[in-house]
């Protein structure tokens, strides 16, 4: 299984560069590319042999205007710049409505052409004078063309939803445009699927509608791995399995649970550096950064540093033995505080562990993983279930302990 890192924060550029040997690719959000075109283009093109795609972020057009505008009623700069690159009139359409309906979205062909041009703009943007100074700093590589063009996509509630139909129309229009161009760059799609509303019929419809696409990226919306139930897990697995009969399936915003869909056919997962393991439609880009968190490999999840401190003092055997942790912790749980002095080490540790997990997925053994998850639950749940919910800030859920490991085991062990 391949790990593609979703670029999110400017400050992560150096660490991504340092960790590039552990990464298989990058995902660049379109609004970031539009907003900081010189630095991001230079950054991407400075890599050698680093596949990437641009996420067109078109689902943002579905958000209420109030979430996309600043205090003075103008579109946020990153979104405004992205819209301007797509089509000249999309910004005025957005500002004229409280919230867009599918009918307000610009013509498929015009939007697809704008989106395609933006995704192919790395090379020209990296050739500007402004980008030159960054290229001098980063060095010049050869990553200028995306793996494939991602067509505009939208969030939908069911396959009868107009947004679903529009996403499919966009995908088909992009596929036609790409094949007409004849430059060998294919079209790919994002299916922003509602994990809690999937049924066997919906899965069959989606698979049939997208059967002509070779690159499919699934975004299981509102699918928080920590609270996902067995039915949701099984349905996502079924969808991955069905789509991978004809396409290369990737998962957007994935944590460990979604990595296990490698056994059902998924080839790639993408996520941020210690963040974006899950993202729902309601979240708009921006806002404050996440608190620093430590990935506890045996829990397959993050915990705040304060919680990790107490967990390691209770159960020192949970200390990670990756090279980063061996060097920093030196088997002494007191040294966990040193991560707060060097937070970049938290990211190094996470990517190092994630890479190992990806290798594990290549040799996936369903029954041993299920037993391992249940064993970890029995061993550690009671000792940590009274700690504050580590993700309350993000998920608002009441979950505190390791109940999710049992639910994962239930979902993963199910025969499809």
């Amino acid at each position: 299984m391949n790990i593609h890192l979703r670029f999110g924060l400017q400050k992560d550029k150096e660490i991504i560069r340092d960790l590039s040997d552990k990464l298989d690719g990058l995902v660049i959000p379109a609004h970031i590319l539009s907003y900081q075109s010189a630095v991001i283009s230079a950054f991407v093109s400075s890599f050698t042999d680093m596949p990437f795609i641009i996420d067109p972020m078109t689902y943002l057009l579905q958000h209420p205007k109030v979430e996309l505008t600043n205090g003075s009623g103008d579109l946020r700069k990153s979104i405004s710049k992205m819209c301007a690159e797509y089509t000249p009139d999309v910004e005025s359409v957005l500002l004229a409505h409280r919230q867009l309906s599918p009918n307000n979205i610009p013509d498929c062909e015009i939007l697809c052409k704008g989106v395609r041009n933006q995704q192919l703009s790395i090379s020209s943007k990296a050739a500007t004078k402004k980008a030159e100074k960054y290229l001098k700093r980063y060095g010049r590589g050869d990553s200028v063309t995306p793996r494939f063009i991602v067509s505009p996509y939208f969030h939908f509630n069911s396959t009868s939803d107009q947004w679903y139909k529009l996403s499919l129309e966009m995908a088909q229009a992009m596929q036609t445009i790409c094949s007409e161009k004849g430059d060998g760059i294919e079209a790919g799609v994002v299916i922003f699927v509602p994990a809690d509303k999937l049924t066997d019929d919906e899965i069959a419809t989606i698979a049939s509608d997208y059967s002509k696409f070779k690159h499919i990226i699934l975004w299981p919306g509102d699918f928080d791995e920590r609270t996902a139930n067995k039915a949701q897990i099984v349905n996502i697995r079924k969808l991955v399995s069905k789509l991978s009969e004809f396409a290369e399936v990737e998962i957007l915003y994935a944590g460990f649970l979604l990595m296990t869909t490698a056994a059902d056919g998924a080839k790639v997962v993408s996520h941020g550096l210690t963040y974006s393991q899950h993202k729902s439609f309601a979240v708009t880009p921006g806002g404050g950064g996440m608190p620093e968190r430590y990935y506890i490999p045996k829990f397959r999840a993050f915990r705040s540093l304060s919680q990790t401190d107490i967990i390691f003092h209770q159960k020192p055997e949970l200390m990670c033995d990756c090279p980063v942790c061996e060097n920093l912790l030196q088997s002494n749980p007191d040294r966990i505080i040193l991560f707060s002095d060097e937070p970049e080490k938290l990211r190094e540790h996470f990517i190092s562990v994630r890479k190992q997990e990806a290798i594990e997925m290549d040799n996936f053994d369903r029954s041993s993983l299920v037993s391992e998850l249940r064993d970890i639950y029995h061993e550690y749940h009671s000792s940590i279930c009274n700690l504050p919910n580590p993700d309350a800030l993000v998920s608002g859920s009441n979950m505190n302990g390791l109940e999710y490991l049992n639910r994962w085991a239930d979902g993963i062990s199910e025969e499809l």
Partner: protein
């Protein structure tokens, strides 16, 4: 009449903390809102000329939240406590506090209305490095 009004007023967490701190200042270095990783500890004390670092999480009603924070504080404190408004202190599950070695203060709305209902046990999970850093910080604050 006046007294009745005061009794029915909602007591703020700040008021409870103020009453507690004024009590604890007697014989201790006291610091408020002390940063610990991504969170702040409500009250931290260290005995004058002593070496014992105690933390207190203050809540008016929600003892479970205070307990969860106090549990996390076991990683920094020699002793970890919660302080509850006296009117709601009966809600606290003392058995649970005993299990985790967390202490309990009952705090009223008037100055001096502080009672130690349960002393805390010495934390088994204390991080010596963070403990030392916070001690240096609160002694520094005092100077």
């Amino acid at each position: 009449m006046k007294t009745g009004k005061v009794k029915n007023k909602v007591i703020s967490e700040k008021r409870i903390a103020d009453v507690l701190i004024s009590f604890l200042r007697n014989g201790n270095h006291v610091a408020r809102e002390v940063r610990h990783y991504e969170k702040s500890i409500d009250v931290v004390t260290m005995v004058l000329d002593g070496d014992e670092l105690c933390t207190v999480e203050v809540k008016t009603q929600n003892w479970k939240k205070a307990f969860q924070q106090a549990f996390v504080n076991l990683a920094v404190a020699d002793k970890s406590y919660i302080a509850m408004y006296s009117k709601y202190v009966h809600r606290v599950d003392i058995g649970m506090l005993k299990e985790y070695g967390i202490g309990l203060y009952s705090v009223g709305s008037a100055w001096g209305e502080v009672e130690l209902l349960k002393d805390a046990d010495r934390s088994c999970y204390m991080n010596k490095i963070t403990n030392r850093r916070i001690k240096e910080q609160i002694i520094g604050v005092r100077k």
